[in-house]
Point group: C2
Chain length 122, copies 2
Amino acid sequence: MEEKLPVCQPDCAEGHGHPTIPGDGEEGMPPEEILYDLAELYKIFGDSTRIKILYALFDEERCVCDIAGLLHMSMSAISHQLRVLKQAKLVKFRRAGRTVYYALSDGHVRTILGQGMEHICE
Amino acid sequence: MEEKLPVCQPDCAEGHGHPTIPGDGEEGMPPEEILYDLAELYKIFGDSTRIKILYALFDEERCVCDIAGLLHMSMSAISHQLRVLKQAKLVKFRRAGRTVYYALSDGHVRTILGQGMEHICE
DNA sequence: ACAATAGTTGAATAACTGTTCACATATTGG
DNA sequence: CCAATATGTGAACAGTTATTCAACTATTGT
Protein backbone atom coordinates (compact mmCIF):
# COMPACT_ATOMS: atom_id res chain seq x y z
CA MET A 1 0.00 0.00 0.00
CA GLU A 2 2.59 2.46 -1.03
CA GLU A 3 1.67 5.87 -2.21
CA LYS A 4 -0.65 5.48 -5.13
CA LEU A 5 -0.18 8.72 -6.98
CA PRO A 6 -3.26 10.17 -8.57
CA VAL A 7 -3.89 8.89 -12.03
CA CYS A 8 -5.37 11.93 -13.71
CA GLN A 9 -1.95 13.12 -14.71
CA PRO A 10 -0.54 13.04 -18.23
CA ASP A 11 -1.36 9.38 -18.67
CA CYS A 12 -4.95 9.55 -17.66
CA ALA A 13 -6.16 9.37 -21.22
CA GLU A 14 -7.56 5.91 -20.70
CA GLY A 15 -11.15 6.78 -20.35
CA HIS A 16 -11.26 9.49 -17.75
CA GLY A 17 -13.61 12.25 -18.48
CA HIS A 18 -11.61 15.33 -17.86
CA PRO A 19 -8.84 16.67 -20.06
CA THR A 20 -5.24 15.78 -19.51
CA ILE A 21 -2.29 18.00 -19.01
CA PRO A 22 0.42 18.13 -21.64
CA GLY A 23 3.92 17.44 -20.36
CA ASP A 24 4.53 17.44 -16.64
CA GLY A 25 2.35 20.45 -16.14
CA GLU A 26 5.12 22.30 -14.42
CA GLU A 27 5.85 24.81 -17.13
CA GLY A 28 5.37 28.29 -15.75
CA MET A 29 5.73 27.09 -12.19
CA PRO A 30 8.56 28.94 -10.43
CA PRO A 31 11.28 26.63 -9.15
CA GLU A 32 10.64 24.79 -5.93
CA GLU A 33 13.22 26.75 -3.99
CA ILE A 34 11.71 30.10 -4.91
CA LEU A 35 8.27 28.99 -3.81
CA TYR A 36 9.73 27.80 -0.55
CA ASP A 37 11.40 31.16 0.04
CA LEU A 38 8.19 32.93 -0.81
CA ALA A 39 6.31 30.93 1.80
CA GLU A 40 9.05 31.72 4.29
CA LEU A 41 8.59 35.42 3.61
CA TYR A 42 4.84 35.33 4.16
CA LYS A 43 5.37 33.26 7.27
CA ILE A 44 7.12 36.27 8.77
CA PHE A 45 4.06 38.44 8.13
CA GLY A 46 1.80 35.71 9.43
CA ASP A 47 2.02 36.59 13.09
CA SER A 48 0.03 39.39 14.69
CA THR A 49 2.86 40.46 16.96
CA ARG A 50 5.20 40.92 14.03
CA ILE A 51 2.49 42.69 12.05
CA LYS A 52 1.97 45.08 14.94
CA ILE A 53 5.68 45.73 15.16
CA LEU A 54 5.86 46.49 11.45
CA TYR A 55 2.95 48.90 11.73
CA ALA A 56 4.52 50.50 14.79
CA LEU A 57 7.51 51.20 12.56
CA PHE A 58 5.42 52.27 9.60
CA ASP A 59 6.09 56.00 9.91
CA GLU A 60 8.96 56.31 12.34
CA GLU A 61 11.75 54.39 13.95
CA ARG A 62 11.28 53.20 17.52
CA CYS A 63 13.34 51.58 20.23
CA VAL A 64 12.58 48.14 21.62
CA CYS A 65 11.32 49.63 24.84
CA ASP A 66 8.75 51.81 23.09
CA ILE A 67 7.53 49.02 20.85
CA ALA A 68 7.06 46.82 23.90
CA GLY A 69 5.10 49.56 25.62
CA LEU A 70 3.03 50.24 22.55
CA LEU A 71 2.04 46.59 22.18
CA HIS A 72 1.80 45.98 25.92
CA MET A 73 4.26 43.11 25.69
CA SER A 74 7.56 42.21 27.28
CA MET A 75 10.76 43.54 25.78
CA SER A 76 12.04 40.02 25.53
CA ALA A 77 9.16 38.91 23.36
CA ILE A 78 9.62 41.95 21.15
CA SER A 79 13.34 41.40 20.92
CA HIS A 80 12.81 37.82 19.80
CA GLN A 81 10.46 38.93 17.07
CA LEU A 82 12.70 41.79 16.01
CA ARG A 83 15.42 39.24 15.45
CA VAL A 84 13.16 37.32 13.11
CA LEU A 85 12.28 40.51 11.25
CA LYS A 86 15.94 41.48 11.13
CA GLN A 87 17.00 38.13 9.69
CA ALA A 88 14.31 38.46 7.03
CA LYS A 89 15.67 41.90 6.15
CA LEU A 90 12.31 43.46 6.89
CA VAL A 91 13.70 45.87 9.49
CA LYS A 92 16.99 47.62 9.96
CA PHE A 93 18.43 49.12 13.13
CA ARG A 94 20.89 51.63 14.46
CA ARG A 95 22.41 51.91 17.87
CA ALA A 96 22.39 55.14 19.87
CA GLY A 97 23.99 54.59 23.23
CA ARG A 98 22.12 51.91 25.10
CA THR A 99 19.13 52.31 22.87
CA VAL A 100 18.60 50.45 19.61
CA TYR A 101 16.24 52.01 17.14
CA TYR A 102 14.46 49.85 14.60
CA ALA A 103 12.87 50.92 11.34
CA LEU A 104 11.38 49.31 8.25
CA SER A 105 14.22 48.31 5.96
CA ASP A 106 12.59 49.75 2.83
CA GLY A 107 9.40 50.86 1.22
CA HIS A 108 8.81 47.40 -0.13
CA VAL A 109 7.59 46.26 3.26
CA ARG A 110 5.01 49.05 3.28
CA THR A 111 3.83 47.95 -0.16
CA ILE A 112 3.34 44.36 0.92
CA LEU A 113 1.46 45.43 4.03
CA GLY A 114 -0.74 47.73 1.98
CA GLN A 115 -1.54 45.02 -0.52
CA GLY A 116 -2.68 42.65 2.19
CA MET A 117 -4.67 45.40 3.86
CA GLU A 118 -6.46 46.06 0.60
CA HIS A 119 -7.52 42.44 0.41
CA ILE A 120 -8.82 42.54 3.98
CA CYS A 121 -10.93 45.65 3.45
CA GLU A 122 -13.17 44.43 0.66
CA MET B 1 24.54 62.31 20.76
CA GLU B 2 20.95 63.23 21.41
CA GLU B 3 18.76 62.95 18.36
CA LYS B 4 15.19 64.05 18.65
CA LEU B 5 13.98 61.42 16.24
CA PRO B 6 13.15 58.76 18.78
CA VAL B 7 10.24 58.89 21.11
CA CYS B 8 9.38 57.03 24.22
CA GLN B 9 6.08 55.73 25.42
CA PRO B 10 4.24 57.62 28.15
CA ASP B 11 3.92 54.55 30.30
CA CYS B 12 7.58 53.87 29.69
CA ALA B 13 8.32 56.79 31.98
CA GLU B 14 9.09 54.73 35.04
CA GLY B 15 12.58 56.09 35.25
CA HIS B 16 13.76 55.52 31.72
CA GLY B 17 16.18 58.01 30.44
CA HIS B 18 15.01 58.98 27.01
CA PRO B 19 12.32 61.52 26.19
CA THR B 20 8.64 60.83 25.83
CA ILE B 21 5.95 62.27 23.63
CA PRO B 22 2.38 63.08 24.48
CA GLY B 23 -0.42 60.73 23.55
CA ASP B 24 -0.52 56.98 23.73
CA GLY B 25 1.53 56.59 20.59
CA GLU B 26 -1.16 54.53 18.95
CA GLU B 27 -2.43 57.16 16.57
CA GLY B 28 -2.12 55.89 13.03
CA MET B 29 -2.05 52.28 14.14
CA PRO B 30 -4.86 50.28 12.52
CA PRO B 31 -7.23 48.71 15.03
CA GLU B 32 -6.13 45.54 16.73
CA GLU B 33 -8.70 43.38 14.99
CA ILE B 34 -7.61 44.47 11.52
CA LEU B 35 -3.98 43.71 12.28
CA TYR B 36 -5.00 40.31 13.54
CA ASP B 37 -6.95 39.58 10.36
CA LEU B 38 -4.01 40.76 8.30
CA ALA B 39 -1.71 38.32 10.06
CA GLU B 40 -4.27 35.57 9.49
CA LEU B 41 -4.24 36.34 5.78
CA TYR B 42 -0.47 36.14 5.51
CA LYS B 43 -0.49 32.97 7.55
CA ILE B 44 -2.38 31.35 4.69
CA PHE B 45 0.37 32.29 2.26
CA GLY B 46 3.02 31.21 4.74
CA ASP B 47 3.05 27.54 3.81
CA SER B 48 4.92 26.17 0.84
CA THR B 49 2.24 23.64 -0.02
CA ARG B 50 -0.40 26.33 -0.23
CA ILE B 51 1.95 28.59 -2.19
CA LYS B 52 2.50 25.78 -4.68
CA ILE B 53 -1.21 25.21 -4.98
CA LEU B 54 -1.82 28.89 -5.65
CA TYR B 55 0.88 28.92 -8.31
CA ALA B 56 -0.53 25.75 -9.84
CA LEU B 57 -3.77 27.68 -10.23
CA PHE B 58 -2.09 30.84 -11.42
CA ASP B 59 -3.05 30.52 -15.07
CA GLU B 60 -5.69 27.84 -15.17
CA GLU B 61 -8.13 25.96 -13.05
CA ARG B 62 -7.20 22.44 -11.99
CA CYS B 63 -8.83 19.50 -10.26
CA VAL B 64 -7.64 18.19 -6.92
CA CYS B 65 -6.26 15.11 -8.54
CA ASP B 66 -4.05 17.06 -10.92
CA ILE B 67 -2.79 19.40 -8.22
CA ALA B 68 -1.84 16.41 -6.11
CA GLY B 69 0.02 14.88 -9.04
CA LEU B 70 1.72 18.14 -9.85
CA LEU B 71 2.99 18.58 -6.30
CA HIS B 72 3.64 14.87 -5.76
CA MET B 73 1.44 14.84 -2.70
CA SER B 74 -1.60 12.91 -1.55
CA MET B 75 -5.06 14.12 -2.54
CA SER B 76 -5.99 14.21 1.11
CA ALA B 77 -3.23 16.63 1.97
CA ILE B 78 -4.18 18.82 -0.98
CA SER B 79 -7.84 18.70 -0.09
CA HIS B 80 -7.10 19.80 3.44
CA GLN B 81 -5.14 22.77 2.20
CA LEU B 82 -7.72 23.63 -0.43
CA ARG B 83 -10.24 23.89 2.35
CA VAL B 84 -8.04 26.44 4.11
CA LEU B 85 -7.65 28.39 0.88
CA LYS B 86 -11.37 28.16 0.25
CA GLN B 87 -12.26 29.45 3.71
CA ALA B 88 -9.88 32.37 3.20
CA LYS B 89 -11.65 33.14 -0.09
CA LEU B 90 -8.39 32.75 -1.98
CA VAL B 91 -9.74 30.06 -4.29
CA LYS B 92 -13.11 29.26 -5.77
CA PHE B 93 -14.34 25.97 -7.18
CA ARG B 94 -16.86 24.43 -9.50
CA ARG B 95 -18.06 20.88 -9.75
CA ALA B 96 -18.11 18.95 -13.03
CA GLY B 97 -19.26 15.42 -12.46
CA ARG B 98 -16.96 13.73 -10.00
CA THR B 99 -14.31 16.31 -10.60
CA VAL B 100 -13.97 19.55 -8.68
CA TYR B 101 -12.04 22.31 -10.38
CA TYR B 102 -10.34 24.95 -8.31
CA ALA B 103 -9.18 28.37 -9.45
CA LEU B 104 -7.87 31.57 -7.91
CA SER B 105 -10.82 33.55 -6.64
CA ASP B 106 -9.64 36.83 -8.12
CA GLY B 107 -6.70 38.76 -9.49
CA HIS B 108 -5.97 40.12 -6.06
CA VAL B 109 -4.31 36.87 -5.12
CA ARG B 110 -2.01 37.13 -8.11
CA THR B 111 -1.07 40.65 -7.08
CA ILE B 112 -0.15 39.61 -3.57
CA LEU B 113 1.92 36.70 -4.87
CA GLY B 114 3.68 38.97 -7.32
CA GLN B 115 4.47 41.52 -4.65
CA GLY B 116 6.10 38.90 -2.46
CA MET B 117 7.97 37.45 -5.41
CA GLU B 118 9.37 40.87 -6.17
CA HIS B 119 10.74 41.13 -2.67
CA ILE B 120 12.35 37.71 -2.95
CA CYS B 121 14.11 38.46 -6.23
CA GLU B 122 16.17 41.44 -5.17
C1' DA C 1 -27.64 -1.87 -8.11
C1' DC C 2 -22.82 -2.20 -8.12
C1' DA C 3 -18.15 -1.01 -8.59
C1' DA C 4 -14.94 2.44 -9.51
C1' DT C 5 -13.43 7.16 -9.38
C1' DA C 6 -12.94 11.93 -7.24
C1' DG C 7 -12.98 14.25 -3.39
C1' DT C 8 -13.82 15.31 1.69
C1' DT C 9 -13.18 14.88 6.56
C1' DG C 10 -12.01 13.63 11.66
C1' DA C 11 -8.59 11.92 14.60
C1' DA C 12 -3.90 11.26 15.69
C1' DT C 13 0.79 12.23 15.48
C1' DA C 14 4.96 14.80 14.69
C1' DA C 15 6.95 19.05 13.86
C1' DC C 16 7.03 23.83 14.45
C1' DT C 17 6.52 28.34 16.83
C1' DG C 18 5.70 32.26 20.22
C1' DT C 19 6.12 33.61 24.87
C1' DT C 20 8.14 33.45 29.39
C1' DC C 21 11.92 33.16 32.48
C1' DA C 22 16.43 33.62 33.84
C1' DC C 23 20.59 35.10 32.64
C1' DA C 24 24.00 37.33 29.53
C1' DT C 25 25.79 41.36 27.00
C1' DA C 26 26.51 46.22 26.07
C1' DT C 27 26.58 51.02 27.11
C1' DT C 28 26.51 55.06 30.12
C1' DG C 29 27.14 57.77 34.35
C1' DG C 30 29.19 58.25 38.76
C1' DC D 1 35.35 49.80 38.82
C1' DC D 2 30.43 49.52 39.90
C1' DA D 3 25.47 50.16 39.32
C1' DA D 4 21.76 51.01 36.34
C1' DT D 5 19.63 50.82 31.89
C1' DA D 6 18.50 48.73 27.32
C1' DT D 7 18.60 44.92 24.78
C1' DG D 8 19.85 40.08 23.38
C1' DT D 9 19.55 35.03 23.91
C1' DG D 10 18.99 29.89 25.26
C1' DA D 11 15.95 26.61 27.26
C1' DA D 12 11.45 25.14 28.23
C1' DC D 13 6.69 25.05 27.89
C1' DA D 14 2.21 25.57 25.72
C1' DG D 15 -0.27 26.13 21.76
C1' DT D 16 -0.70 25.59 16.83
C1' DT D 17 -0.47 23.12 12.44
C1' DA D 18 0.55 20.01 8.35
C1' DT D 19 0.45 15.42 7.00
C1' DT D 20 -1.10 10.64 7.22
C1' DC D 21 -4.50 7.17 7.76
C1' DA D 22 -8.93 5.43 7.56
C1' DA D 23 -13.37 6.11 6.76
C1' DC D 24 -16.88 8.60 4.46
C1' DT D 25 -19.90 11.05 0.68
C1' DA D 26 -20.85 11.95 -4.12
C1' DT D 27 -20.95 10.99 -8.91
C1' DT D 28 -20.53 8.18 -13.15
C1' DG D 29 -20.48 4.08 -16.22
C1' DT D 30 -21.94 -0.59 -16.92
